[in-house]
Amino acid sequence: MSERSGTRTIKVDALARVEGEGALYLRVKDGAIRDLKFRIFEPPRFFEALLAGRGYAEAPDITARICGICPVAYILSSSHAMEQALGIRVTGPLRDLRRLLYCGEWIESHVLHAAMLHAPDFLGLDDALQIAERDPQLVRTALRLKKLGNEILEVVGGRAVHPVNTRVGGFYRAPGRARVRALASELEWALEASTTLLRAFAGFDFPDYTHDYTCVSLRHPDEYAITEGRLVSNRGMDIAIDTFLDHFGEEHVAHSNALHGYLGAGEPYLVGPIARYNNNFDQLTPLAQGAAREAGLGPVVNNPYQSLLVRLVETLYACEEALRLVRAYEEPDASCVEAAPRAGVGHGCTEAPRGICYHRYALDETGHILEARIIPPTSQNQKQIEDDLRGVVAQNLALPDEQLKLRCEQTIRNYDPCISCATHFLELTVDRE
């Protein structure tokens, strides 16, 4: 950091506690932002291209490797797309098992982000280990909760990172009744534990910043949408996922290896916990709604820093939902719905912990992939992240460089950006002239 003759330059080599490598460039002149770029330089891995020519059944395992933090999102979005293309539907107990698996991923990912990646920002600390020095019990509770998320992934999916038991049509082997039911007692504890974390974090000092977001999420008639639904927004959009590409676009900008998502003629929009919460608050359970109110949240949240709390409300919800599914679990007669290869096109869209993850595949008559298109949540949020940063920086120009830098990092972490998904090392450069 240096300050000389009116030009101030802040340079941070790496933004930490995000999943991936990215950078922020900011130039301020005469008290106004001249240039602001949120840059993702995670190297491209060309998934869409390397899927071409592979069998339909391979897509879930291959696309899972886009992201180690939310593999279930990729597995299920691609499986749904393939099932649509092949003309089969996974319903009843197998659908319930998929929802249970997804609850595991929400719990694991939300607790990791809220307690270990985001919370330190609100305490002015470097990491969760420093939180543990002050409040070991809190960190132990978070770790135990996170572990429970992973246990659900292991029991249902066979492995926490990159589950092995999932397939197009359902599962390789339905998990045994006793193992699934055995999750119940820890889930009962988890209802209490997620409420405890929510209470602890509700006491944080949330920066005073709000924005009227265009919130995009799934919505399902019968449940808080996770694995399926229609795509809706708080501005009246209500479309089938099959028409995603008619409404949303992506552009490739020079400063980023992740494509920027946009809505309509180029507008930013928000996906993820706040978008889901604002669109579907009415479908949360009374327990989750009550906990949200107690934490000071209304039915609409427009302060992006409060995403931390919304993640914990969703964690509580996911624990409750998982408990319901676990208690009702009986081994299904068949572990999957068989499909025969055929030509077709299919779309899949599910709610990854950080927002909607859209897949589209075209298959030839032997079931091999002709074309793949994958739009992960972080690339959809990128434009909105830049927009937030512009607003936050404009409001906080009076802050000293070091604090402004921290505030920017915190703002980016509101999104739990998974930069591995978006295409990690976040470099932040601020030039003040």
């Binding site: 490797r65 990646l117 490739h252």
Partner: protein, 255 residues
């Protein structure tokens, strides 16, 4: 006594292997007590200067910047251990090695000229000397803890190098290949995952990579006899360890 310094580095990857370290929920606070976490971007803003006693490296080398950076990491590390298939053989992204990377870039990006990428995704050992390679896509967290523990205590990690088949026998898992004719790479894949796929009645897809001296030709013949076609056999070998020499050579026989 000075605590050993641990660093975790990321190259082209999905983050799943470094996440496996954060997934050691029961051991994490103890590990953090025994070492100085000197560099681990996904977990902390704090950064200590090198040299580092142990560097865990995730990911493969896919850009000129990465090829440069791994040399710096090596020069600052006493022990360098690669974690996972990406770092050990190139990972899924190494499928580009068999294709035209410019065509790949054009297929995915509107402006391929904005990208700075290499034509290949390669293992860390193709660039710098590596002290130990831990397999898996992702690594097994118990094996990861063993490697950290052993390396910091100056002993060789206890990581078996026999095949996945041996694990099935040990666990009493019914052979999916013999009993159901399910294609399985277990005979040629290194053990270590904990016998996951066959226990789910699924064939092993080789995410731990080839075992020492695998008889891939014999396995391919058996797979052919079970009715698997040429392209499908090639695809079976070319997933998360496609660029590991034994798998690469075998898959190329079944183009």
């Amino acid at each position: 006594m000075r605590k050993p310094k641990l660093a975790v580095w990321k190259f082209s990857s999905c983050d799943g292997c470094q996440l496996s370290l954060l997934d050691c929920e029961d051991e994490l606070l103890a590990v953090a007590g025994a070492v100085d976490i000197a560099y681990f971007l996904e977990a902390t803003r704090a950064r200590l200067r090198g040299p580092y006693d142990l560097s865990l490296v995730e990911g493969s080398i896919t850009t000129p910047e990465e090829a440069e950076r791994i040399r710096k990491v090596r020069s600052q590390s006493r022990f360098l251990v690669t974690i996972g298939a990406c770092a050990t053989s190139g990972g899924i992204q190494a499928l580009r090695n068999f294709a035209d990377v410019d065509a790949f870039a054009r297929a995915v990006y509107a402006h391929p000229e904005y990208l700075d990428t290499l034509a290949t995704a390669t293992a860390i050992q193709d660039h710098v000397p590596v002290d130990f390679e831990l397999r898996g896509c992702p690594v097994n967290k118990h094996q990861l803890l063993e490697v950290v523990n052993a390396t910091l205590n100056g002993r060789r990690p206890n990581i078996p190098d026999h095949s996945q088949c041996v694990e099935c026998k040990r666990h009493g898992t019914v052979c999916v290949l013999v009993a159901h004719g399910t294609p399985c790479l277990g005979p040629v894949t290194q053990a270590g995952c904990g016998n996951l796929c066959p226990a789910c009645s699924r064939g092993c897809y080789g995410c731990f990579g080839p075992k020492e001296a695998p008889n891939t030709a014999a396995l391919s013949a058996k797979l052919g006899a079970e009715g698997l076609g040429g392209r499908a056999i090639g695809h079976l070998y070319s997933t998360f360890n496609a660029n590991a020499p034994a798998f690469r050579e075998e898959s190329q026989k079944h183009e």
